[in-house]
């Protein structure tokens, strides 16, 4: 089982982590990029993202678990900031 992530950052910086239950970084994606990592069924993980920009910026995150799992429904996330801004979000999941 894998989690596949695609990100786009326009005029700003985006950081996406996939963390294990101890907070260890299993996958890190910066700005516009893509990556994937193996997940063990039944284990807990954390999905966490941060944005930072000194100017107006736009970000997009697409993430899915393959094969699909009800513990992680496909994530499509678009966000736009009209001014310099910083933000984050995080949630725990079990694939």
């Amino acid at each position: 089982m894998t989690i596949d992530i695609n990100t786009t950052a326009t005029n700003g910086h985006l950081l996406v982590y996939v963390l294990n239950s101890n907070g260890g970084q299993m996958l890190t994606i910066r700005d516009s990029g893509s990556g994937s990592c193996m997940l063990v069924p039944g284990k807990k993980y954390r999905f966490e993202w941060h944005t930072w920009s000194a100017t107006p910026a736009e970000y997009a995150i697409d993430a899915s678990v393959n094969p699909s799992s009800p513990g992680f429904p496909p994530l499509h996330f678009d966000v736009r900031y009209a001014t310099a801004d910083e933000d984050f979000g995080t949630f725990e999941f079990t694939a």
């Binding site: 941060h50 000194a54 933000d87 984050f88 979000g89 949630f91």
Partner: protein
Amino acid sequence: MKRIALPTFFFVVFANISYSQVDEAKSLTFTPYGNSGVSNIISNLSLSSTFNAGQNAKAELKYTTEKWETYGLTVDQKINEGTKKATPLDLLNGIASGTKIGINFQKMYWDPQLSLNKAQLFDRAADSYSSRTNVDRGTVTRNEILKNGTDEEKRFLKGFATKSPIFFNIQGFLEQTSFSFSTDSISLSEQNVNYMTPSASASVMFPSIAKSSMWVLSYSYAENYAEGSAVSFSSPFGSTSNYVNKDITFGRPVKSYNHKATIEYRKGFLSNDQLSVVINPALSWGSVNNLISLTLPIYFIQAANTDENVRGLQGGFTVGYSGFNTDSKKFTSFSDGFGAQLFITAPFNIFGDL
């Protein structure tokens, strides 16, 4: 080649309380165009010595890696009024006089991962927000909760400082400058020499979006050649009654070094979600005069706004005191060390080119 388009309204007004007393030391330390060697819209302009002579032609090539490392190559050439093109590099003669070639390296360090405790606090706020508003839990953001959350949801995020990136910047430049002078007071024969002078700077920047502020520590080193004052000669033109005037500088240019260390703070104050005032205090030390100087530019004049985009603040008032002599361990008298200027320049950007 990209030419910097200077605003047509660009000018500087000196409302100096004692302008006649502004000496070389002040001119080296008081500049309304920025206090440090940070690569940004202010210090990049370096117009303090060129706005009377003309403009600069500048080309910049940047390459950014996935690890937030930026490599830059810059060519900057002074051009005179009316000049149609710039030729910074001649394949036969090398770098043209008045040309500055630089390399730049910038590294952004940013690891904002939340601690487990903070992540769990966010979970409690976001779970509540998501179930109350039916927003997909995976897309709930910190800003959304702070804007539309209940007091209880916001309370979970109280004191939740985010980690801003830190920027490290190193720049190096080579500049070609030509001089004409004479060492023979009898024949008045002129010599022309070109000097290649290096300069370098390093800086660390700590921006804070939440506080609309930035701390900057910087150090710069520069080599310069200073020429003496020109002497004006008038000599008869042939057998006519006309005279020819010529200005000749005697003696070779003298080489000098300048080390400068600066700590700078930029802080913006908002009114109706727009910058209304920016302060930019800086404390600097320069080796040329061994003076510690304090400057305080205050930007409050709004930039001309020809479209819907806010262009920021472009002018204000600056005061400075220069200062404490680290050699003699004495303070300069207020009348000799104080300077004040009213200025209008390019729109100020707290975060520069970050």
